[in-house]
């Protein structure tokens, strides 16, 4: 406890550096050697670089300084009182059967065992256990999908992370159910939480994954998650990220994906609430015929801030990518979108689309959208577009002329705007639940207590229609 108090007196970077130096044995206690080696390398890099700050071009519009200059508690030892997650999070799943794994304050919660093999053959479990059980997979992929020169958040994660989720889908294996990773923060102290995920899809495999970041209280925190995903030939990944943290919290979320030939991914990042959020999504198309759909929806208000940094590398020929991010910003919310498409010299026949559409509901909401295409091949089709607008006044009048109030007309239009992204969710039951969350959010009724999308039993109401505003 004394140590904790001390920790919380220093700015985050200084605290982490001291913590690493003083507790190296503890930090590496559970490691295989390869992982320890990467820690040391990353720690040195972090010492030089520190955290990114608003003086850096890529962080210019996102003030992470306010977060990193604060003091936090960073747990490097498994707390002995891992509360039963069931207590916190009773999932009464309606109509949607998932395979669930949970993390509490960054620690994997094992109900039965820290590492399990699902009936269809998928291996899922705690990152710290998995490295010992599958060292060859770690040596092959861990730390290799995230670039070596990644930013300070990634470096410090590599240096000091303690746990996370490991998923391995062997060749030819297809997930029978959506795998849901529920991450909950619930602590009295202001926590710094690092988690590290490694997800490996073998050849011809399939995985549907949902990743929920939630707070259960109003305590502030900073979460720094790094996820590396390898998608082998002809494999298929659907990744849904749901972000619903409190207004006091910061989330830095870095996802790195490497795709091999004829593989397909679809990521959908749905941000409902968070004080400050930065999503770095970096997809490398390294095998011909691969395709990536990178989608996102953000609904921000108050003084919330979201920064989506998307980078797609078309490294080889005949790949396609499609980026679509849509956002609704209310009150004094601010957003940044940076879509960077890089087409390498030999990546002929590339098709890359990028779009970012925003609705600003107030004059005080802001968006900074920057498409960026860097193309070195000559036979490519690339397009980008960004729109910033208000609600369509013609449509407002049309709707109101049918008797629908201004408030509900607004809601209908906002919902319709978001529908493009929601409709891309291919699992019907999940689509309905997210739909429900979006409606609640747009009506200002979604709280962090709604936790994850699957929480709280039956949906709000019966679904006969897409949306029913009549009861508002």
């Amino acid at each position: 406890m004394e140590k904790d108090t001390l920790q919380q007196a220093l700015p985050l970077d200084q605290m982490l550096i001291a913590q690493y130096r003083n507790n190296k044995e503890l930090i590496t206690a559970n490691d295989i050697q390869y992982v320890s080696e990467l820690r040391e390398e990353a720690f040195q890099t972090f010492m030089e670089s520190g955290f990114p700050h608003s003086g850096m071009e890529q962080w210019r519009h996102t003030d992470v300084d306010v977060l990193t200059e604060d003091a936090y508690l960073n747990e490097i030892e498994v707390p002995d009182t891992k509360k039963d997650i069931e207590e916190l999070f009773r999932c009464d799943i309606h109509n949607f059967d998932t395979e669930t794994v949970s993390m509490l304050n960054g620690w994997y919660i094992d109900k039965d065992s820290p590492l399990k093999t699902l009936p269809e053959g998928i291996v899922v479990g705690s990152f710290r256990e998995a490295m010992k059980a599958y060292p060859q997979i770690f040596e092959q992929y861990y730390g290799k999908i995230a670039p070596k020169n990644a930013n300070g958040f990634v470096q410090i994660n590599t240096a000091m992370m303690q746990d996370g989720v490991f998923v391995w889908v062997p060749d030819g294996v297809k997930s029978a159910k959506t795998l849901q990773i529920i991450k909950i923060l619930n602590k009295e102290e202001q926590l710094f939480v690092q988690s590290r995920n490694l997800i490996v899809l073998g050849k011809n495999s399939e995985l549907s994954l949902m990743h929920c970041d939630d707070s259960v209280n109003q305590q502030s925190s900073l979460v720094n998650t790094v996820t590396e995903i390898f998608v082998d030939e002809n494999a298929n990944l659907e990744l849904y990220k749901l972000q619903n943290l409190n207004d006091q919290s910061g989330l830095i979320n870095s996802t790195f994906v490497q795709q091999m030939a004829n593989s397909n991914i679809k990521t959908n990042t749905l941000t409902f609430n968070c004080g400050l959020i930065r999503n770095n999504i970096h997809v490398k198309l390294d095998g011909q015929g691969s395709h990536a759909d990178v989608l996102g929806l953000y609904l921000m208000d108050k003084q919330q801030h979201i920064d989506n940094q998307i980078r797609i590398d078309h490294n080889v020929a005949n790949c396609t990518s499609n980026e679509l991010f849509k956002g609704i910003l209310d009150e004094e919310a601010s957003a940044v979108f940076n879509g960077y498409i890089h087409v390498a010299r030999d990546a002929q026949k590339t098709n890359a689309y990028q779009n970012n559409n925003n609705i600003l509901l107030t004059p005080t909401a802001t968006i900074n959208t920057m498409p960026f295409l860097e193309i070195y091949a000559d036979d490519v089709k690339c397009s980008h577009g960004a729109t910033v607008g208000q609600l369509d006044q013609e449509a407002m009048f049309y709707i109101r002329s049918r008797g629908i109030s201004a408030a509900n007309a607004r809601l209908l239009l906002m919902y319709a705007f978001a529908a493009d992204i929601i409709n891309e969710i291919s699992i019907e039951a999940l689509r309905q639940r997210i739909d429900d969350m979006v409606k609640k959010r747009l009506r200002g009724e979604l709280s962090v207590c709604d936790k994850c999308v699957l929480h709280c039993g039956a949906p709000e109401k019966e679904y006969h229609f897409d949306i029913d505003l009549s009861k508002i």
Partner: protein, 251 residues
Amino acid sequence: MLLNIKNLTVAIEGKEIIKGLNLQVNKGEVHAIMGPNGTGKSTLAAAITGREGYEVTEGEIWYKDQNIIEMDADERANLGIFLSFQYPVEIPGVSMTNFMRTAINAQREYRGLPPMPAGEFLKLMEEKKKLVDIHSKLTNRSVNEGFSGGEKKKNEIFQMALLEPTLAILDETDSGLDIDALRTVAKGVNELRSEENAFVVITHYQRLLEYIVPDFVHVMYDGKIVKSGSKNLALELEDKGYEWLKEQSLV
């Protein structure tokens, strides 16, 4: 009297478009408004239905014994005023079913009625779809999205049939319709006609008025009604055009 417009002046962005217009409509009547392009017919419709930005600078619009000029568009709709748009708006992402159910329930709520049960609503949809001969493949789509010009107009009448307004203003609902669709639309209107409601039909063509027979025909020119008469006036206009009226009104 259902609608009584007295000396109405309407300006858009400071520019006067309607310039002292009078119109009285009783329950059970059909009024046709004709007139050259750009004379303010749609502006009049927008002013009656409460479109923002259409500023009533003078005069009054009385509907069911209240002056409605300060009322919001949705409240006017809830009082039974309906506009079939000259240019219906596409609303991607909002399904027709959903839109109409929301509208019906909003209007019911205004009248102190509970929401319509889903089953009842679906039955009503089916019934009205038949009335205007509109295909399910349209009503399952987003509002007007990708509809052809004619389909959009039919869809307006479909909405009217569902909402059963007391005062319906049809702004060039006939333009863009093929002959069969024109008949269907007219049939829809005629079936809804009763002693309790009224229609204001804005059109350029006498043909619609063969199917929806008006009690009165008005000619609008330069923001005013310059001539009113019986249905025969429409025939006269078809024959002679507007030139003679323009000359008359300039005098």
